[in-house]
C-alpha cells in the first residue's frame, strides 16, 4: 500500500495481548483513512449500547494517507470512540507531530480494547510494543508525565497522554499530544482513563512510501504555493485562530455570559491583535504546515504568570466572554491549565459559564459551591473551578459530568440554557446571528460542533471555502432552506480532511482539484473530485448510522431552547432566534434522508456502497 504503513496495532489491555493486522485495502479505499477508516472499525466492532467508560468500548487512533508527507499541513491524525459525554460517535483530530510519529513507528492506527487491571502506558517504536507499568506517572499532570516517560525510556519518543482529568474520568477530558496539541472534544481522555491507559509513547524510523513520488511532490508544492499566496496564510499566520473574535463580535454572534448576549464591549482587548500586542512571544507550526497559526504566549508576571502554546479562539471564547472574563492573562492561564489537566477548553468554559448562570439564578447556591460565588466575570473563581473539575473535587465533581447531565440533575429550568447539542457543549459562535451555523451545529455527528462544517467561514467571517463548489450564504441572518446544501457539502468535504490527515484550514484556499492529485499520487488510487465528494459523504453517513443505531432521530438534531426561543436582547443580531425546522427539512432532503426520522434511506446507503449497513445496524 502507498501512503499507508499497511498495519494496524491492536492492544487488548484486559488480556495484555498485542497483535497486528493488515489494513484492509478495500476499506482504506472506501473510507480513505483517518476518521473514515477508524469509524468503519468502530461501527463493525462495537455493539449497540456499549458503556463508553466500560471495557467494551474501543479507542481507535488513526492516521491518514497524507499524514507525515509534504502535502500542506498534513501532520494530522484522528481518534474515534463512543463518547462518554454524548453516548454517540465521538471523533477528534489533532495536529503537531504525533500522527507522523505514529506512522514512523510502523503503524497506520492503534485500536485499544479492554481495561488494564492497573495503570499502564505503551511504548511503540519501530514495530515493537511494550506495555509498561504507569505507577510512576499516574496522578501526574501532562507536562510531568511527558518528562517522566522521557526519563524512563531515555528515548526521544512522542507522548500522547491524559492528565489528571482523564484519570478522574471527567467526561470532557482530553488526550494531549506534543504537550499542547489535543484530541480535545468528546471526552477521549475519559475513555483512555477508564482503560487505565495513561500514555502512548511513540516513535521510529519507518518511511512512508508513495505511489508516484515526483508527481506527488509537484502537486504538493503547487498547493503549498497557493496557500502561501492566500488570505488564509496572511491572516492566520499573523493573528492565529483568534483573528476571528472581532469579526464574530461585530456580527453579534460572540456568546457572552452563557449566551445571554451575543456581543461584548471588550472584544478588542482579547482579540488576535491584542494577543499579538500583549502576550505573544512566538508562533508554532504543525508538521508540514506553511501557515504556522499556532501561538506561543507568555504572561511574565503576576498571579497568572505562565507560558505555553495558545490561546486559540475557542479557548478565548470559552474563558472570555462566555464567562464574561475580560482579563487576557486570566484567559490564557485558564487555557494552559486545561492543557495541563487534559481538559477540553470548549466544554470546560461552557460548563463553567452554565454554572455561573445557575448561580446567578439561585439554582446553585453557596451551599453547593463550598462557599464560592460563581459570578460572571470573576476570573479567580473560573480558575478555581478548572482545578475542581480537573480533580473532581467539590462542585467540580458535578460539573465534570458536562452541561447536559448537570442540567438534568439540577432541573429548575436550567435545561433552557444548557448550551449543548446531543450532550456536546457548543463552541463560541452564536447561531442566532448566522442561522446556517445553527443547522451545522444541529446536524454534526459528534454533537454541538463548529468544525464538522466550518460554515462560520462564509457566515461570520465572509471567507469562502474553495473546497466546495459553492459556499455563499447570501444573508447569514436569514433562514434560507436552499442553502442547506452548503452545510451538507462542507460537512462532506471537511470529513475528507479528517480522513486523509490534512488540516481543514487548507479547504479555505484549495479547490478539490488541487487536493485530489495529491491524494491520488500519494496512494496510487484512481481518485478524482467525484471520489473526493463521495468519499466524504460515505464517511459522514457511516457515522450517522452509528448514531442511528444508538438511538438518534430527528428529535436529537436540534438546538438548545435558548437559541430557538430566546431572542438576542441586544447587539447587531438583536431580536433573532433560529427557526430550525425548515432548514432541517431541506437538509434531510439534500442528504437523501427520510425527512420525518432523519434516517438515511436504503437507496442513499446503497449509492454510497453502504448497502449492508442497515442489516449490520440491527434494530433501528
Amino acid at each position: 500500500m502507498f501512503g499507508f504503513m499497511g498495519k494496524i496495532l491492536r492492544v487488548d489491555l484486559s488480556a495484555r495481548l498485542v497483535t497486528e493486522e493488515i489494513v484492509d485495502e478495500k476499506a482504506a479505499r472506501m473510507f480513505l483513512g483517518g476518521t473514515g477508516l477508524a469509524t468503519k472499525y468502530l461501527f463493525d466492532e462495537l455493539a449497540k449500547g456499549v458503556d463508553p467508560l466500560g471495557p467494551d468500548n474501543k479507542l481507535i487512533f488513526m492516521s491518514g494517507p497524507l499524514t507525515g508527507t509534504i502535502s500542506p499541513s498534513s501532520g494530522r491524525f484522528s481518534a474515534v470512540t463512543k463518547s462518554p459525554l454524548t453516548g454517540l460517535w465521538g471523533s477528534s483530530n489533532s495536529g503537531g507531530r504525533w500522527g507522523l510519529d505514529l506512522k514512523k513507528s510502523g503503524y497506520d492506527g492503534i485500536i485499544i480494547e479492554g481495561v488494564s487491571v492497573s495503570p499502564v502506558y505503551l511504548i511503540i517504536e519501530d514495530d515493537k510494543v511494550e506495555i509498561r507499568d504507569a505507577k510512576s506517572v499516574w496522578g501526574l499532570g501532562v507536562k510531568e508525565t511527558i518528562q517522566q516517560i522521557a526519563a524512563e525510556t531515555s528515548k526521544k519518543l512522542n507522548v500522547a497522554c491524559i492528565g489528571v482529568a482523564g484519570e478522574k474520568l471527567v467526561r470532557y477530558a482530553a488526550i494531549m499530544n506534543d504537550l499542547h496539541r489535543t484530541l480535545g472534544r468528546c471526552g477521549f481522555g475519559a475513555v483512555m482513563g477508564s482503560k487505565n491507559l495513561k500514555a502512548i509513547a511513540i516513535g521510529g524510523s519507518h518511511k512512508i512510501e508513495l505511489a508516484h513520488t515526483e508527481a506527488f511532490k509537484k502537486a504538493a508544492r503547487a498547493a503549498n504555493e497557493l496557500i502561501n499566496e492566500s488570505l488564509l496564510k496572511m491572516t492566520l499566520e499573523v493573528y492565529g485562530t483568534n483573528m476571528v473574535l472581532e469579526m464574530v463580535n461585530v456580527k453579534g454572534g460572540l456568546p457572552t455570559r452563557n449566551w445571554q448576549s451575543g456581543s461584548c464591549d471588550y472584544a478588542e482587548d482579547i482579540s488576535g491583535p491584542a494577543v499579538s500586542e500583549k502576550i505573544l512571544v512566538g508562533k508554532k507550526a504543525c508538521f508540514s504546515c506553511p501557515i504556522a497559526c499556532g501561538r506561543i504566549s507568555e504572561i511574565k508576571t503576576g498571579k497568572y504568570a505562565s507560558k505555553g502554546e495558545g490561546p486559540e479562539y475557542e479557548s478565548v471564547g470559552a474563558f472570555g466572554p462566555m464567562c464574561d472574563v475580560k482579563d487576557l492573562d486570566a484567559i490564557m492561564y485558564a487555557h494552559l491549565l486545561c492543557n495541563e489537566y487534559g481538559l477540553d477548553t470548549v466544554s470546560t468554559g461552557s460548563t463553567i459559564a452554565f454554572s455561573m448562570e445557575c448561580f446567578e439564578k439561585g439554582i446553585l447556591t453557596n451551599e453547593d459551591t463550598e462557599g464560592l460565588d460563581l459570578n460572571f466575570g470573576d476570573a479567580d473563581v473560573m480558575i478555581e473551578l478548572i482545578h475542581k473539575i480537573g480533580k473532581r473535587e467539590g462542585i467540580g465533581n458535578l460539573l465534570a459530568e458536562g452541561t447536559r447531565r448537570v442540567s438534568e440533575k439540577l432541573g429548575q429550568g436550567s435545561e433552557h440554557f444548557a448550551m449543548h447539542v446531543k450532550g456536546l457543549e457548543l463552541p463560541a459562535y452564536d447561531c442566532r446571528a448566522t442561522k446556517m451555523t445553527g443547522l451545522a451545529f444541529a446536524t454534526a455527528n459528534r454533537g454541538g460542533d463548529h468544525i464538522t462544517a466550518y460554515v462560520q467561514g462564509p457566515t461570520f467571517l465572509d471567507i469562502p471555502y474553495l473546497i466546495v463548489d459553492e459556499s455563499t450564504i447570501e444573508d447569514p441572518t436569514m433562514e434560507n432552506p436552499a442553502e442547506a446544501i452548503v452545510v451538507k457539502d462542507m460537512e462532506d468535504a471537511l470529513t475528507v480532511f479528517d480522513a486523509v490527515g490534512c488540516c481543514k484550514f487548507m479547504g479555505m484556499a484549495l479547490f478539490a482539484e488541487d487536493l485530489t492529485p495529491i491524494i491520488a499520487n500519494a496512494t496510487g488510487w484512481d481518485f478524482d473530485v467525484s471520489d473526493f465528494r463521495k468519499g466524504g459523504e460515505r464517511i459522514f453517513n457511516l457515522a450517522r448510522m452509528f448514531n442511528i443505531r444508538e438511538g438518534v432521530t430527528r428529535r436529537d438534531d436540534t438546538l438548545p431552547s435558548r437559541l430557538l426561543e430566546e431572542p438576542l436582547p441586544d447587539g447587531p443580531a438583536e431580536g433573532l432566534v433560529v427557526d430550525l425546522d425548515p432548514l432541517l427539512d431541506a437538509y434531510y432532503d439534500v442528504r437523501g434522508w427520510d425527512i420525518s426520522t432523519g434516517l438515511p434511506t436504503k437507496q442513499k446507503l446503497e449509492d454510497l456502497g453502504l448497502g449492508d449497513i442497515m442489516e449490520q445496524a440491527g434494530e433501528i
Binding site: E229, L231, L232, T235, Y239, V250, S271, G272, P464
Partner: protein, 142 residues
C-alpha cells in the same frame, strides 16, 4: 507633488503608482481576466470626510486602466465593492493600519465580490495597498 485623498488628482497619481510597480503587475496579471476585477471603494463620512465618497478603480491583467471618483455608484459596473470609514481607509493608506488588521477588525466590509478571488489573490491585494502608500498624500482632518 502632494495630492489630497480623495480627489481626482489623487486618483491620477494612484493610477501612475500602481502601473509603476512591476511586482504588482506580476501579482495582478490574472486579476480581472475572465471575471470583473474592477473595484468600488465606498468611503463613509467621518475623520474629515463630510459625505460618502466613491472611488472606482479598473484593474485588469496587471494594469490599472483607470481610477476616478464617481458620484453615483450605479454608474459603474464593478466586480468588487468594499466599504469602510474614511478614517480607516486613511489609516490604511498612511500605513498606520495594515490591510489584514483592517479585515480581522471588521473595519472593511465586502459589499460585493467573489470571495474566492480575494482568497487566492491576497498577496496582490496587500501589495496593491502598499503601492498606494507611495503617493504623496494630504489627508482630510489631519
Amino acid at each position: 507633488m502632494t495630492v489630497v485623498y480623495p480627489s481626482k488628482e489623487w486618483c491620477d497619481a494612484a493610477k501612475d503608482a500602481l502601473n509603476s510597480n512591476p511586482e504588482l503587475s506580476r501579482l495582478g496579471k490574472k486579476w480581472g481576466v475572465g471575471f470583473n476585477g474592477d473595484w468600488l471603494y465606498e468611503l463613509e463620512p467621518g475623520g474629515g470626510l463630510v459625505e460618502t465618497t466613491y472611488i472606482f478603480a479598473r484593474y485588469r491583467a496587471g494594469e490599472c486602466q483607470g481610477m476616478e471618483m464617481v458620484n453615483d455608484p450605479s454608474d459603474v459596473d464593478v466586480g468588487f465593492h468594499v466599504k469602510g470609514s474614511y478614517k480607516d481607509f486613511k489609516e490604511l493608506l498612511m500605513g498606520k493600519k495594515e490591510f489584514i488588521e483592517g479585515l480581522v477588525k471588521a473595519k472593511f466590509r465586502r459589499v460585493k465580490g467573489d470571495g474566492k478571488q480575494i482568497m487566492r489573490n491576497a498577496k496582490f491585494s496587500k501589495v496593491f495597498t502598499e503601492t498606494l502608500r507611495v503617493v504623496e498624500t494630504d489627508f482630510l482632518g489631519e
